[in-house]
Amino acid sequence: MAGKLPSPEEIAAIDYNLPETRWMDTPAALREGVFCHAARGRDIEAVHMPNPRDWRVEDDDWKLPENWKEIILKGLKERIERFRSLQLFMDICVRCGACADKCHFFIGSGDPKNMPVLRAELLRSVYRNNFTLAGKLMGKMVGARDLTEQVLKEWWSYFFQCTECRRCSLFCPYGIDTAEITILGRELLNLLGLNIDWIAAAVAKCHRIGNHIGMEPQTFKESIDFLCDDLEEITGIKIEPSINRKGAEILFVTSSGDFYADPGIFTCMGYLMLFHEMDLDYTWSSYAAEGGNFGFFTSHDVAELLNAKIYAEAERLGVKYIIGGECGHMWRVFHQYMGTMNGPPDFLETPVSPVTGTRFEYAASTGAVHICEFTADLINHGKLTLDPSRNDHRRVTFHDSCNVARGMGMLEEPRYLLHHACNNFFEMPEETIREQTFCCGSGAGLHAGENMELRMRGGFARASAVKHVQKKHAVNTLACICAIDRAALPPLMEYWVPEIEVTGVHELLGNALVMKGEIPRTLDLRGEELPSGPNNKG
């Protein structure tokens, strides 16, 4: 793959010139390096989705069912009736263009169909043609067009060039949300078994096994034990977490990226240290181990299917509430969907911190608290001893995850943690952070290997902002609270802004956390030498 990836100079020379032909007359180019591989039949079958078969994007024949057009139009009609958002967003766009240059994929590619307004027009044109009077009467003249195989392929191409980050929806005067368009557009494609491999494979594994990499329970336990062994070496403290333990007070769920891959595992070590230090009565679950909901990138039904296991497990184990780890779209689902899809969870209680006694009233219905909220409350009550100088070798900036920023609004909590966990913190430019944050370019299931060019283009805007603080403040660390970020940002940084390390917030917190009975700390959670500070001279 790496061989095919153009150089940063080549990609940075973005051509914003528009094609000569009108967008409707410009067929979508399915280009290697941009598109993702097609989903495999067995993964589609695993969750009983329609039209399972093996097919290839490169082939002309996508092995669609005979009546594919009918299926799509029927599906579209159903969704228009079921989702006010879709109907409204199909009807009211005035094409003012405010969204156009807000999309990281447009910024990084210059492809006009990556302007949110045109991404929506791809679907809207078919809506007009089949569901509006003007479209039926006047056709192409009023932006309507027939649904052809060409159009379908165009949908596939561009609904998988959107990370559902909602940056456009922040700037839209009517709040038109391209994430809704993309989510429902992909849902329509999935009616024909058109998914991408990276998503479909993860969905199947989450469903049958319990996490997106298909790690079996015994391996899951080994992974956690392995992290605990490392922690014992670093801190001298033996941590013994419990798995699938009934009667625990709290169920902890995070994205599986945190317990198997570098650098997510270092964040996971931070969680383990924190929970141990606070003597929390909590358990992991190997059945509902995956917080990240890959179903959300497939359809609402599959999102619900995968999410259901979390409440089911909370009920089985008899916990009082759930703490969720650092993950972006997992939290969009936890915050905006979980209660509605699989709740209300009457068996859970309003979360109360056993350490500080704080009642998380704002999570009374879903019973789920974000770990950053939980930890911020601990620090605010002076329950943690932190030595930020242990992170003095790091000059840190913070990347807000799109979903947490624009689908929840948790902006201050992680910053509060960072301010307590490290001494050198610098913000990126205002228009690239908080609610205006740029996507990593690999969200919403696009974190595959074969679409590296697309990912580098998508992350160009974010990387630019990092480069800015690297030059201005000699920043060397990019902190984030999302598992996809932790997986996607390291290659992105290596490509655009070398020598930036990516960490989770709880990794930095773990470094700074002074634990009772710890040995003099000489190593950080990555096993690298700590800078010499007041508490760690040993």
């Binding site: 700037f171 009934k246 299917l305 915050h335 509605t340 605010n380 160009f460």
Partner: protein, 339 residues
């Protein structure tokens, strides 16, 4: 691309009304029949659309959050951009309706520099054009109420006087009309001069702009150039809304053109993007509260998921779990073990 067609369509509308009234003398058609038809289309179309929107549910509570959530008490909550209560959500959507708050955020991509390849500059001009246009339109519409009321209510007279405070000569200059014309021209100009916008623009975008331009122009011409018998027009207007329609003598053809264009706009309105005016009120990313975790949001068509149950999962991995010392629901020696 739709530009020429949109222009031709508006010219045709002008020609139709001009020939109809001037050439064929169809004043009743253009003064009574068409206006009633347009009104019927406008109201039924509008209501039909509102019913369609309101009967489609909001299955999920999906506000786009533009600021800090309400969480821990000591963290400042950004209640306007991240509303937690219905009242806060009403304030948020009102700020969109009255102040175009989201558009006020607008930025434009700045050329690349070495230090930072991607950056933005503030771009409030779109907001400025838009807000000027909409308030000018509102004021103009409101002023026109003096044709439909007898006696003219005080607020209408007040707006008229405020609008015309800038008295230069006779007749009094109404700022709103001129501002409307200027703003609609600017909105049109950005559509043709910004390549990205020209690329995305459709007939559907140009047609209402031309129509409003033509309406404003005929209005301005009547007021400042051609003159108009306002008494007769008021008689027609009063007859129209009291359902005792009549077409008095002495109304010039320019008025009929103006009136026909307004009728066209009204009839077109509910079937077009102009419905954004009503649609904004319904926008789920703007009018919903962000209190999903605090209170349950019901999805009317939700059905329980047939997920992979724990018991089945345990059977799948029983031996491996026993070996790893992971607790089980079922006793390892239970009959199910045989599977």
């Amino acid at each position: 691309m739709g530009l020429p067609y949109a222009l031709i369509a508006v010219i045709l509308l002008i020609l139709i009304s001009w020939t109809g009234v001037q050439g064929l003398g169809l004043t009743s058609l253009f003064g009574i029949v068409i206006p009633y038809l347009a009104a019927i289309l406008f109201f039924t179309g509008f209501i039909h659309r509102l019913i369609k929107w309101s009967t489609a549910p909001n299955p999920f509570r999906i506000p786009t959050t533009g600021g800090q959530q309400k969480s821990l008490g000591w963290i400042q909550h950004s209640w306007m951009d991240n509303p937690f209560t219905t009242f806060q959500a009403i304030l948020r959507i009102s700020s969109e309706i009255f102040l175009f708050r989201s558009l006020f955020r607008n930025l434009s991509l700045r050329p690349q520099t070495d230090l930072q390849p991607v950056s933005y500059a503030s771009a409030k001009w779109l907001w400025l054009f838009a807000i000027a246009f909409h308030y000018a339109l509102l004021t103009t519409l409101f002023r026109h109420l003096h044709f439909f009321t007898n006696p003219v209510p005080a607020p209408v007279r007040l707006v008229q006087n405020l609008d015309g405070w800038f008295e230069i000569g006779i007749p009094q200059v109404m700022m709103s009309g001129l501002l409307l014309l200027a703003a609609v021209t600017l909105l049109f100009a950005r559509r043709i001069f910004i390549p990205k916008l020209r690329y995305i623009s459709l007939l559907n975008d140009y047609f209402p702009l031309f129509l409003i331009m033509a309406i404003a122009t005929t209005g301005v011409l009547m007021r400042y150039v051609d003159g108009i018998d306002t008494t007769s027009v008021k008689e027609l207007a009063m007859g129209f809304i009291t359902f005792r329609p009549s077409v008095p003598d002495g109304i010039g053809v320019l008025f009929f053109i103006h009136f026909f264009l307004v009728c066209s706009l009204a009839a077109y309105f509910p079937f077009s993007k102009l419905m954004h005016a009503a649609g904004l009120f319904f926008s789920p990313t703007r009018n919903l509260t962000n209190n999903n975790r605090a209170s349950f949001h019901r999805n009317p068509w939700n059905k329980p998921a047939d997920y992979h149950k724990y018991a089945d999962w345990e059977n799948q991995f029983r031996e491996k779990m026993v070996e790893a010392g992971i607790p089980l629901d079922e006793d390892p020696a239970s009959p199910k073990d045989k599977e």
